[in-house]
């Protein structure tokens, strides 16, 4: 790999550190009203500032762009290295897009300790952008872990009735995953001689070494995704978190697991990834069916959406480990789409909760009759979530299925019921919400969506249809990087990663 070089652009540093600076300013603002406006302005400006990443992005190359390097801790050979490629670009943009919406959806929901809340949100933004931009493993790990504290505080302080349990469970799960990541990163450092991530890719590690590193990666990332059976922290955390916390969790944090697979597992340990593919695929299929079935049984709206997340992220891991172009690009699209759609659904649930002070589906039955605008938004996002053609999720899931079909037809047949389940649980929710039955609770006193709430949901609605009808601007940026990733994966001796039949041959 090329030696680290700097392009002189400091856009990524700006994006990472401006939320921190905004948080410092927020610490000195006394008025709640100004705090909200300040955070909204800061996150919106950051979102606008991040747009040149897209316009200035060279789609023809798979190299890292907007790179920055500086020595950080020379004794330990740790660098401050940043850069993005086609895989991380959209995730960075998704993060900057979601954050102003998080501020908007907390506008009235959060009533106490607003300053601390906004500071937590801003620190989260810094850390999340940092994770997607870091090209030095230690830097990556620092951002990865730095996210834990503000997220645990978001859940633990502003959460629902079982917030303490949910917060600690989230923290302990993620932390125990990342200690293995720490071992893996030290082991890689000793093999490679630096923490620079591109240097770690495509090295002829022994099979045994790859296996151990892959497993360490896998535990850490599978907990973050979360993959079945590591998912149990997710429903608790989602249900108890405040709306903004749920949105951040669903839209960005879960993507870090799949991003980890794409950035580390596949290019650094290609042989082991190919070796373990059948198992990961099987877990993904289980996650899709399990998530769907469990979502079908939920009466709590947030739990329903949370379990649907497990199923959707199953599609993402399925696409990643199909290890072909269609599957990988589909997986990245699923990640983005899930961020848009599930984020929107959580905001919608938050809006319902603010009106009813309950998330029970039975309480919300028939709300659509009184609140048509809400029902319309909920309808579109629910359809998007079940991958209705013309919406964003259809593109992603279709590509994943197409990629997966090349990998193993049997598995795709097993996935099919999961797709039907998605329609079942989403339409069930939508039917209840919009029409209910003759015994609906009285909703006559409820107000329909206000201007702020429409503004919160509208951008996501735009993306639902934009990606759904014209995905080319989004897929365009990832082609080169995905091709490059596939080449790195194929470097595994004799493992093309395309055919499951070859895997046993490789393993011995």
């Amino acid at each position: 790999m090329t030696s680290p070089s700097s392009t002189g652009s400091c856009l990524l540093s700006l994006l990472i550190f401006s939320p921190l600076a905004a948080a410092v300013v927020a610490a000195f603002i006394r008025s709640d009203r100004w705090l909200r406006w300040w955070t909204l302005a800061a996150t919106t400006i950051i979102a606008v500032v991040s747009l040149p990443l897209y316009t200035g992005f060279d789609v023809a190359t798979s190299k890292f762009q907007f790179t920055e390097t500086a020595n950080w801790i020379p004794t330990l050979k740790i660098q401050y290295a940043l850069g993005i490629d086609g895989i991380s670009l959209l995730l960075v943009l998704l993060t900057t897009l979601i954050m102003p919406l998080c501020v908007l959806c907390s506008w009235n929901y959060i009533q106490n300790r607003i300053r601390e809340f906004m500071i937590c949100l801003l620190i989260m933004e810094s850390a999340m952008i940092g994770v997607f931009c870091a090209l030095d493993f230690v830097l990556f790990f620092v951002f990865w872990e730095a996210m834990l504290i503000p997220m645990a505080l978001l859940i633990g302080i502003w959460g629902g009735p079982r917030k303490i349990y949910a917060s600690l469970k989230f923290f302990i799960y993620t932390m125990s995953g990342s200690v293995f990541l720490l071992v893996a990163l030290i082991a890689l450092r000793l093999q490679v001689g630096s923490f620079y991530i591109p240097d770690m890719m495509g090295k002829p590690y022994s099979h045994e070494f790859q296996t151990w590193v892959f497993l360490a990666f896998f535990i850490s990332f599978a907990i973050k995704v979360p993959m079945f059976p590591f998912h149990t922290w997710l429903p608790a955390a989602h249900v108890e978190a405040p709306t903004a916390g749920s949105v951040i969790l669903a839209s960005v944090l879960l993507k870090m697991g799949t991003y980890g697979f794409l950035r580390f597992s596949l290019p650094i340990t290609p042989w082991a990834a190919a070796h373990f593919t059948p198992w990961v695929m099987a877990l993904s299929v289980v996650a899709i069916s399990y998530g769907g079935l469990t979502a079908l049984a939920q009466t709590d709206l947030k739990k329903l959406v949370a379990y649907s997340s497990v199923a959707h992220m199953g599609f993402a891991t399925l696409g990643i480990f199909a290890m072909n172009k269609m599957g990988l690009e589909g997986a990245i699209m699923v990640m983005i789409n899930h961020g848009v759609t599930t984020g929107a659904l959580f905001i919608t649930v938050g809006i319902i909760y603010e009106r009813l002070h309950s998330r029970e589906l039975g309480q919300a039955a028939g709300m659509g009759k009184r609140l048509p605008v809400l029902a319309a938004f909920a309808g579109v996002f629910a359809l998007s979530s079940l991958a209705f053609p013309g919406t964003n999720s259809f593109i992603g899931e279709f590509m994943v299925m197409a990629g997966g079909f090349k990998f193993s037809q049997v598995m795709m047949i097993l996935v099919a019921p999961g797709v039907v389940l998605a329609a079942a649980y989403m339409l069930r929710m939508l039917q209840k919400l919009a029409y209910g039955s003759t015994k609906n609770p009285d909703h006559s006193k409820l107000q329909d969506l206000g201007f702020r709430e429409v503004v919160t949901l509208a951008p996501l609605l735009v993306f639902v249809f934009w990606i759904g009808l014209h995905p080319e601007p989004f897929t365009r940026v990832m082609h080169a990087s995905v091709e490059n990733l596939l080449q790195q994966t194929a470097q595994a001796p004799s493992a093309s990663g395309l055919a499951v039949a070859q895997t046993p041959v490789v393993s011995k």
Binding site: T75, V142, G156, S167
Partner: protein, 504 residues
């Protein structure tokens, strides 16, 4: 000039002695102690790049010792700020408390410069005896009478461990005919793998294991933490451990470069400490006892660095323990301020701290998350460098045990965060902080963050200084200690201009 920190502390101790002769001079004693601490920091900075030897080479001032003296000076100052009005010390002995504190710090400051066993033992005792006296200075009252028991435990274990250490030293003296560490190092090299040397070294380490509270020399730790006044426990938990690590660096480097038996011994003790400390900490309800057991675990982490038997590992251990000073003091600040009238603090009584005093809650969170090893705090960088050192020597199993232990530890650290951040204060009143405490809190948070985010300069300094400090006297004739004493500073001075320069 080179001995300025020691001289300042000695002068301070003398003045304090005069102050204690009078009646009720607590406020004056405190001011003298604070002044001494501030001057010690200034003196350490002024003498940072000085090199000198004293007493026929028994006492050496080099960058390693000066850096640690600076750490002791800072720690001394922070502990004085932390102890506030010494609310739980008997009124009539408060001035003496400051005197003993200063003498103990003086002992530590001279300890890190000793490179000869007899001088080292003297300095060690000078640093330890005041602590033995400070523990029973706690007020007696109903439900709080364990300070004597704690003090006796501390003394008995300390003397027993020292006895074992002297016994080991006598072996090594018998083998080498010298008490000077550089000379011993050179003479021990050829006979390194003989059982006698290994026994002697292992026994000699025991004294430091006691200071660090390494399993199985830890039994005093939780009881002393619980029985001593909060301020005293903060002192016992922090400064002597830096001294312990510093001397352990000198001792362990006697067994370098490759002594598999001793490395294995260190590794096993590290594993024992980590598991013992972390597992028992899970059960604690008293915050000081929890910190005591977590301290045992952290000593185990520090020992992981020594297993590498290499300069990089020693540097990691020193860096880690200096970071630990800041983290554990952050916790003790909270203990001292939350405690009503100096009683022990249970974890439950931290409930709602974020409403009672946001700054204290932030300090506690930073300290505890730092101890848990979460970036960007110093605990993470420390662990990363320790584990890198161990893994570079192939101790994968040890590294995995260490990270499993950090995962276990997260649980009890989180229980502290849970109480202080997620629970309601109930009836408890808000805590008002005076200005020195606020400054202290901000300084500790800044220290924990700065050491974690920008440790580059410090790591280089530690690493270089250890390379010089642990060099064997092989390049010089090993005939007499006097000769080595005159040669070594000359050799080190030649490379002085290359080092980074710090403006005092």
């Amino acid at each position: 000039m080179a001995y300025l920190p020691e001289l300042v502390l000695l002068a301070g101790a003398l003045v304090l002695f005069l102050v204690t002769l009078g009646e009720s001079r607590t406020a004056l004693a405190k001011q003298v102690a604070l002044g001494t601490a501030a001057l010690t920091i200034a003196a350490s900075l002024a003498a940072f790049y000085q090199e000198a030897t004293l007493f026929s080479g028994a006492y050496r001032v080099d960058i390693f010792s000066q850096m640690l003296k600076l750490a002791f000076g800072c720690g001394f100052f922070l502990i004085l700020l932390l102890s506030g009005k010494l609310s739980d010390i008997r009124e009539e002995v408060k001035p003496e408390y400051y005197l003993f504190l200063t003498i103990s710090v003086y002992g530590l400051v001279s300890l890190v410069s000793c490179i000869e066993l007899i001088a080292l033992v003297v300095a060690l005792e000078v640093s330890a005896f005041p602590l033995y006296l400070m523990i029973p200075m706690r007020r007696e009252r109903a439900g709080q009478r364990s300070q004597m028991e704690s003090a006796i435990k501390y003394v008995m274990f300390g003397i027993a461990a020292n006895g074992v250490m002297f016994f080991g030293m006598s072996y090594l003296f018998g083998l080498t005919g010298s008490t000077s560490l550089p000379v011993m190092m050179a003479k021990l090299q050829p006979i390194m793998t003989t059982p006698l040397v290994i026994t002697g070294l292992a026994l000699m380490f025991c004294g430091m294991f006691y200071k660090l509270a390494i399993f199985p020399f830890h039994f005093w730790t939780p009881d002393v933490y619980q029985g001593a006044a909060n301020e005293t426990a903060g002192l016992v938990a922090s400064l002597p451990k830096i001294g312990g690590v510093a001397i352990l660096v000198r001792f362990v480097s006697l067994s370098a470069p490759d002594n598999r038996t001793l490395a294995l011994l260190l590794a096993l003790l590290a594993v024992g400490s980590m598991f013992y400390g972390n597992l028992i900490a899970l059960m604690q309800t008293d915050f000081k006892r929890l910190l005591g057991f977590s301290g045992i675990a952290h000593a185990g982490y520090a020992l992981v660095g020594f297993v590498a038997l290499e300069q990089i590992g020693y540097a990691a251990a020193v860096y880690y323990i200096i970071g630990y000073l800041f983290m554990v003091l952050a916790c003790f600040v909270v203990i001292c301020k939350v405690s009503d009238d100096g009683v022990n603090v249970s974890i439950e009584s931290l409930a709602g701290l974020h409403r009672r005093s946001p700054l204290l809650a932030v300090t506690l969170a930073v300290g505890v998350f730092g101890l848990a090893g979460i970036p960007p705090f110093v605990g993470f960088m420390g662990k990363l460098s320790l584990l890198s050192a161990a893994l570079s020597k192939g101790y994968l199993w040890l590294v995995i045990i260490a990270v499993v232990n950090s995962a276990i530890a997260v649980y009890y650290y989180l229980s502290v965060v849970r109480e202080s951040w997620f629970r309601d204060p109930g009836e408890r009143q808000p805590i008002r902080l005076d200005l020195p405490t606020r400054v202290l809190c901000v300084a500790l948070i800044a220290g924990i963050l700065a050491l974690g985010v920008a440790p580059a300069r410090m790591l280089v300094t530690i690493s270089d200084s250890i390379a010089k400090a642990t060099a064997p006297a092989s390049a010089v004739p090993v005939a007499a200690p006097q000769v080595t004493a005159t040669t070594i500073p000359g050799a080190s001075q030649s490379s002085l201009p290359d080092g980074p320069h710090l403006r005092p």
